[in-house]
Amino acid sequence: MKNLKLKKGLVALTSAALVAVFAVAIPSTASAASTCANTGFIDGAKYVAIEKCTGTDDNGSQFEIRMPAKFNGTLFVYSHGYRYNVNLPAIPVVEPKGSRVDNSAAVSPSEDVAQALLAQGFALAGAGAQRQGWNQNEGVDAAIQVMQIAKDKYAKISKVVTWGNSVGGLTAQAVAEQYPGAVDAVAPMCISDATQAVLDKANGFLWGFKQLFNPAIKGTNYSAGQAGYVEMLTDLGTVLTTLQALQAAITVNPVSPAWPATSTVPDALKAIPVRSAVLLLGLINGIPTQSNTYDASSGPAGASETTFGLVISPALAVLENGAQAAILAVMANYDAEMTYGGIVFDNSKTNYATRLGDDAVTFRAGLTGQSGITGMLSYLSALNPAAPRVTANAEAVAKMNSVYQLQGKIEVPTITISATADHIASAGAAQYLANKYEAAVSNGDAKPGKLLNIWNKPSDEYTEFSSAGAPVTPTVATNGTGHCNYTTSQILAVAKLAASAAKTGKLPSNSAVKAAIKNEPNLFVDPTITPPLLKFYQ
């Protein structure tokens, strides 16, 4: 840990100085335990020979490096996304087979991507941080360590690209900002926002879910030790059964679904179709109104086509997305409370009417008119003792926020990709980085022309309906929705652009970007498109 603190202290130095000092400051990790073996795979008609090295770094993080025999000089250092930091028993939907904490190293988003890059001569490296859960610091350290281990072992590495998914994207960006000069390009994919902003979204949804649908959910302030673990598991079960009740009600009567039996809201509020309450929770917390199944743009042919698209589809999309948001809230919030020592969610001063904003105009029909909006927001008001707000533990919040917060101090080409309907890592997180970068450039803290945001949108319409008019969940997850749900070719397009940028030190030209994504109809680039920031910032 001492060495890590030393490394972090270097952040204040100038970039040029850092490059020189950096190599000295990072201890040689050649001594880190590693095992290497020659292996390979068939790519089309050719055999790709690689050397695969695995080991454990000085902090105990597992790492892996794959070096192709025909190396082109560029190393990709990958940071994986959020993983649970507790073992889970078999839980339907969440972990049907149960799971154990996974500390294994990951070198790319998928094996297909890994092989494609290796076949093109890129080397890959990645780690599995020694501690899972919210682990940005550990992730940064692990990435830095594996990068240095690779450099020590393979002198022919001339360029380094850091990249990652979700929290791993945040980690990759943090590596670049905290260690200027260490990397040549960055590719944060489905980049996560800061922990506080993400938990505000997930917990905000869970809090409203509890107030409106099932007060038995604990949601926050989990006990320490085994008792807290049981509380968390119990919450998962309660959330799932409540979700199932909502789903069943909407299936039976999509237009005027009944409220779940566990709800304790006044009867007057229950006069509003429960789908409106689901939609409201989504809108005030920034849950997308498009999901894997529901596009909010189509309906079954016939008389209900417009009604379905207008008022039912957006609510069902929120329910589909919100189910995972609520589960994430339970798991990730439990993790955060245990890690930081207290409640980290705070909505004691949140104005949900403000957070609804213009969506009150856009989705007024789905929200059962202004009267419906007024009724629901009144119930969720801070003045209503029946829906008590949550106040955070200031020390826990301070501890949570003590990890590095992105500054937008971008010195090397940085290419993000974010889906407009990613329900976990909102596109607004990439926009947040863009805003920070713009400010940093204005302040002279970053170089202009170094950030490119690629947006991934779903197809214009994609909801399929059965002959009976029922929506059909697709067998292949809808691109542009879901969390980090990119195709292999989309990821490779980003990777190639990043590798090219690492070589030149410049972002690819407009024509090069266009060429790279010309066969990707769901990707687009437009600097004027600005997805909304997370509600935490609004």
Binding site: A296, E305, L310, V311, V361, G369, G372, I529
Partner: protein, 436 residues
């Protein structure tokens, strides 16, 4: 040295001007302006072509195209032909956001015209970054007063008066003609209704009972019957103001027919909900339509004695074959005519900023079929700023209420409703603008 440089620059400018004059007819005047070439101006519209709203509003893009094709056949605008790209948003906000973004990013249009709907367009405006892209957002078909906010919608120009203005005019009509009678309001529970409620309140009109508000898409026959049954207990011949879309007006009038209450009330349908052709097509009896009062800023589409109506009807016959000429077609062609005048007023070197400045400077003088004045200025993006009160007959024709056309003008705020002496500009010869 400085002087010499200035002289050289002056010479260079002269040379460029001269050269420019020579090649103006062959080179794109504004190659950098999206959607504009030497021969074409690309415009876009996102509106419902399918779904329930498509039944009423589906004619709008076709009617606009018909008028543009008529203009194109007569030389276009400074030699450029107008192409209107239409995308179907089904009246769904998310689809409108998608399609409007497509119009900007994929179709590369110069400007949007005639976008339709409050919920749809408010979402689309932001999603497609119209403000950041400085995309002219011309003659939108919604009366939501929020669109007058030039900070939020800096490129938007409305064509409709605001719903608040309409409510104020209706309030005056009730006061002038039905004083002493009870009055009720059945309104869509969104910006449409809330704007209206605010307008009535500003006008000092108090309804006998609290307004009956319903979310868009939720008015059913049963709900309409329940509402009317309740209201029918009030003695006299109350005025029922219907502030919703035409399909809802039809639902309520048919409920009244079923309950034999059509003559119990004086029906006052807002301009958005009083298209006679649609009412009749949706099964409302002609005898029920007969007598319905409404507010309008346009002449009636059945009044072929009106030169604008006649001209547009003729264009419809030739360029929009098979489509019945009605108020939607009339309004759409009128907006297309306004668009052509805006393009002309912007000059040959067409730019996005230029056309918006041109409307601010000259829009209030544009020729149009509207019977009330246009209110465009540097500080106002509201189109028509008044109404006349009409009454439908069994044929669905709208005639001046009381037999005499009276034009009322007002604003969206506390300003009075005043009788106007406005006389609309003479129609350009053959309906082809020649303004500059």
């Amino acid at each position: 040295m400085i002087r010499n440089k200035s002289m050289r620059r002056a010479s260079l400018v002269s040379a460029i001007v001269a050269t420019g004059a020579m090649v103006l007819s062959t080179l794109p005047a504004q190659a950098a302006t999206p959607g504009v070439t030497a021969t074409e101006i690309k415009l876009g519209i996102s509106s419902p072509l399918t779904g329930s709203a498509g039944l009423s509003y589906g004619k709008v893009p076709g009617a606009m195209k018909a008028y543009f094709n008529y203009i194109n056949a007569n030389g276009g605008v400074y030699g450029r032909k107008i192409t209107l790209i239409s995308r179907d948003d089904k009246y769904l906000p998310t689809a409108a956001a998608t399609q409007t973004t497509n119009l900007i990013l994929k179709d590369n249009v110069f400007a949007l015209v005639g976008a339709l709907g409050t919920a749809t367009h408010s979402k689309a405006y932001k999603a497609a970054a119209l403000a950041k892209n400085n995309v002219p957002d011309l003659f939108i078909n919604t009366g939501f007063s929020g669109f007058t906010d030039q900070t939020k919608y800096p490129t938007t120009f409305m064509v409709l008066p605001t719903y608040a203005m309409e409510a104020k005019v209706i309030a005056k009509a009730i006061k002038d003609n039905f004083a002493g009678q009870a009055s009720f309001l059945i309104a869509q529970d969104d910006e449409f209704g809330t704007d209206g409620v605010a307008g009535f309140k500003t006008a000092g009109h108090t309804f006998t009972l609290a307004p009956i508000l319903y979310p868009q898409g939720s008015m059913t026959s049963a709900r309409a019957e329940a509402a009317l049954t309740g209201l029918s207990a009030v003695p006299g011949k109350p005025v029922v103001v219907l502030f919703g879309t035409t399909d809802v007006t039809a639902t309520i009038l048919k409920a009244a027919e079923k309950l034999a209450l059509t003559t119990k009330f004086t029906w006052y349908a807002g301009s958005v909900g009083a298209d006679a052709n649609t009412l009749l097509a949706l099964g409302v009896k002609p005898t029920t339509v007969n007598g319905v009062i409404s507010a309008s800023f346009m002449p009636d589409a059945k009044d072929l004695t009106d030169p604008y109506v006649k001209q547009f009807a003729d264009i419809n016959t030739k360029y929009n074959k098979g489509i019945t000429f009605d108020n939607y077609v009339l309004a759409a062609m009128n907006s297309a005519m306004l668009t052509v005048q805006a393009l002309r007023a912007a000059g040959k070197d067409l730019t996005r900023a230029g056309i918006m400045s041109a409307i601010e400077a000259k829009g209030s003088t544009f020729a149009s079929a509207g019977l009330v004045p246009l209110g465009y200025s540097a500080t106002s993006r509201i189109g028509y700023n008044g109404y006349w009160v009409s009454q439908l007959n069994e044929k669905g024709e709208g005639k001046p209420y009381g037999g005499k056309l009276v034009i009322y003008t007002t604003d969206s705020g506390a300003g009075a409703v005043e009788v106007s002496t406005f006389v609309r500009p003479t129609m350009p010869k053959n309906g082809i603008p020649t303004n500059s």
